[in-house]
Amino acid sequence: MNTIIQNILVFSALGLALLFLVRKYIWSPKKKSTKACGGDDGCGCH
């Protein structure tokens, strides 16, 4: 019983850590909608 709980905790911690890293470096679902300016959008930033 105790081992099962410990294992569940380990894998949920791992899941959270991976989710965080993926969202930070590979793909973030938020980014696309908030991108108002940048790149070649003619915002006059560059």
Partner: protein, 699 residues
């Protein structure tokens, strides 16, 4: 909840605008970015009398509304866009009593936008010293505003300012200058075309290259047709506007301000005679740098040792107290070691930012720009590149943003490209631990060898930056006009509150920014090191016991052998062995290889990674440093971290481009993937070669 008053804090650089912001908001502030661009956005909440609250934005410092950089654009974009949620109900223009004339230029421009405006005259404690006296009533009447005479240094006048903010609705919105006097006929046509629009606003839209967001586009698109005048003509008119504004300001100040030069004292001249001297200036600058490095090294060693041993005990305590199992191991070996790898660097990072903010606050940084411009120009850089190169010792990301005030595009691009060579605070953890392992203790002329090595590494980083700038200057064929204007502000004793807030904010950014990444990577690494595929990992007990059956090992020794066998065949061990051939010539084993790969998320991860890998399966209470010192080279024997491999690692970290966030910022600032990719390939390739040569020569 009642509506908050939106207040925009605007002012020239070096007027103490940030001090006013700090005085109004205290710790109720947060720092973020404007959406889509990397300009720092500082906002905070100020509690006013009678339960009213003000939402205060500290806008980037600017000399006028004629924007010439990304930062300055932010100011004008906000002031012209009524639909922005931050559009100010009230503008507070901060000025410096000693430079009132120049500061009022911006004030009159904002006034002409018909935004209610309060004029803050800061540093009033210097008035007697400089022999300045002001007729506030007269100035308020002529400038059609309310004036708050304050001193953030002496903490005077802040409450009066808060009182004025509360009553902002009583302020006059009458302009100071009739915009149409710039060019009567041109403005008459404008008036006819847009009868409902404010002329000065239209004029700014015409002369500035501004982004108004989607909502305001329609109104301003029509103005495009009015760009009938050539760029040169517009510039001439802008000059005319500036002259007209100064005429008005001179008239006003003639009566409103008297300066008694006889009672004025000037410390600036005396200090500048030494600090910008052809010989003494450079010697003093060198001495200041030397002191900083010695201090970072010496002062922070005590808290660091304490943190290191505390985390080791905490990890040990967790293991003994909590019920045995996988999660307890994760806590003790993954999370606590990972956290230790973050917390241990807080003292050094705090010290570094302490010194940098003191140099900036005191006004000394501008003298360095002045001293270094001629020298830097030989390498295709500007005197202003010194600021990014020095603040690059904290972090390359804000440093690259700090290049925005470099007027010439070529000088700016070169600065952006070479700044990542300077030793950022993320390299510091790696340097410190390796120096502690491979450089002997001892002193020469009162300076420790270890501190000197660190200083040398900073010089190597700086040298690499300057050297590659020289090459880039020869290669890059970019024609760009180079203007160079730098204000030489008065010397000021840094305000404790400002320095403390900077240190606090930057340290927090490190702990919660890099810290989260380090923690997440530690967890993943612990998992990869504690689990593995196939028989070799899962039946490690039996395999090792059989293998050593004849050797009569004690239980402890056998346990050690099992754990290291497990690690070798865990996921991470397999991955590490796969990359080992590439890094063996540099003197590293697969564990260091894993640490280097994970460093691409953030360099600081290096130490945490090694701490996690080494602590998996180990029972003893050990500090990170002792664990690393105990590692044995699997092939040659002897300590893994010896002089040759240590120097090779130091050099690799000095040159390699290992920071994804920096690459992202370079992409944003140069608007192309070309430059960050060049950085990644060239810097990392060069790092590999140098580390290879160093190890092969020294081993």
């Amino acid at each position: 909840m009642s509506k908050q008053i939106n207040v925009a804090l605007i002012g020239n650089p070096n007027t103490g605008k940030t001090s006013v912001f700090n005085a109004l908001t205290g710790l109720n502030q947060k720092v973020g970015n404007y959406p889509g661009i990397t300009v720092e956005k500082k906002e905070g909440i100020c509690k006013l009398p009678r339960g009213v609250k003000a939402h205060i934005i500290d806008l980037p410092g600017t000399y006028s509304l004629n924007a010439s950089s990304l930062d300055e654009n932010v100011v004008i974009e906000l002031l012209l866009n009524k639909n922005d949620k931050d559009y100010p109900d009230l503008a507070v223009v901060v000025s410096d009593v000693e430079n009132l004339k120049r500061n009022l230029l911006l004030f009159t421009q904002i006034k002409d936008l018909k935004i209610p405006t309060i004029l803050v005259i800061n540093m009033s404690d210097r008035m007697a010293y400089k022999g300045i006296s002001l007729d506030i009533d007269y100035l308020e009447q002529e400038l059609k505003t309310k004036i708050a005479l304050i001193s953030t240094r002496k903490n005077k006048g802040i409450n009066e300012l808060k009182e004025l903010i509360t009553h902002y609705k009583e302020l006059s919105t009458e302009p100071c200058l009739d915009a149409s006097s710039i060019d009567e006929s041109y403005f008459e046509n404008l008036r006819k075309a847009f009868p409902n629009q404010l002329l000065y606003k239209l004029w700014l839209v015409i002369t500035q290259d501004v982004n108004f967001g989607k909502t305001d586009r329609k109104t301003y698109d029509a103005v495009e047709d009015f760009k009938t005048k050539s760029k040169t003509d517009l510039k001439r008119l802008q000059q005319k506007e500036t002259i007209k504004r100064y005429q008005f300001i001179n008239e006003t100040l003639k009566k409103g301000q008297t300066i008694d030069l006889n009672s004025a004292k000037d410390l600036r001249i005396k200090l500048d005679r030494i600090l910008t001297h052809k010989v003494w200036g450079y010697l003093i600058f060198g001495a200041i740098l030397l002191t900083i490095f010695q201090a970072i090294y010496d002062w922070s060693s005590i808290p660091m040792d304490f943190i290191d041993s505390s985390f080791a005990s905490l990890s040990e305590w967790t293991k003994n107290t909590l019920p045995e199992g996988a999660f307890t191991n994760l806590l003790a070996e993954g999370i606590i070691s990972g956290l230790g790898g973050i917390v241990i660097f807080i003292p050094q990072i705090a010290f570094l930012f302490l010194f940098i903010s003191i140099l900036e606050e005191s006004g000394y940084m501008s003298r360095v720009v002045f001293l270094m411009d001629r020298i830097m120009r030989r390498f295709g850089l500007s005197g202003k590149s010194v600021v990014p190169l020095i603040s690059g010792t904290a972090c390359a990301i804000p440093a690259i943003m700090a290049t925005r005030n470099i007027e010439s595009w070529k000088e700016r691009l070169i600065t952006i490209l070479v700044t990542p060579f300077t030793t950022c605070s993320a390299r510091l953890p790696v340097y410190l631990i390796i120096i502690a392992l491979v450089i002997p203790e001892g002193r020469i002329l009162g300076l420790s060898y270890q501190a000197l090595t660190l200083m040398l590494l900073y010089l190597i980083g700086f040298g690499a930056a300057v050297g590659s700038a020289w090459i880039l200057n020869k290669i890059l064929k970019i024609k760009s006009k180079s203007f160079f204007v730098v204000e030489m502000p008065n010397y000021k004793l840094p305000l404790f509150k400002n320095v403390a807030l900077t240190v606090l904010e930057k340290t927090k950014a490190f702990v919660f920014g890099a810290g989260k990444i380090i923690l997440a990577i530690s967890i993943v690494l612990w998992f990869l090191a504690s689990y593995g595929p196939g028989d070799n990992f899962n039946n490690a007990d039996t395999i090792v016991t059989e293998q050593y059956a004849s050797e009569n090992l004690t239980e402890d020794e056998l346990h050690q052998k099992i754990e290291s066998h497990k690690l070798e065949h865990s996921f991470i061990g397999i991955a590490g062995h796969a990359i080992e051939p590439a890094i063996r010539p540099l003197g590293y084993d697969w564990k260091i290889g894993i640490a280097i790969v994970s460093s691409f998320a953030a360099r600081e991860v290096f130490v945490g990674t090694l701490a996690t890998i080494y602590s998996v399966g180990s029972d003893e209470e050990e500090t990170i440093k002792n664990r690393m010192a105990g590692e044995v080279n699997p092939i040659l024997g002897g300590p893994l971290f010896n002089f040759a491999s240590g120097i090779s690692l130091l050099l690799f970290y000095a040159f390699a481009m290992q920071c994804m966030s920096t690459l992202a910022v370079v992409k944003k600032e140069t608007n192309s993937w070309k430059w960050p990719m060049y950085q990644l390939v060239i810097m990392s390739g060069f790092a590999y070669i140098v580390a290879l040569v160093a190890y092969q020569v020294l081993k």
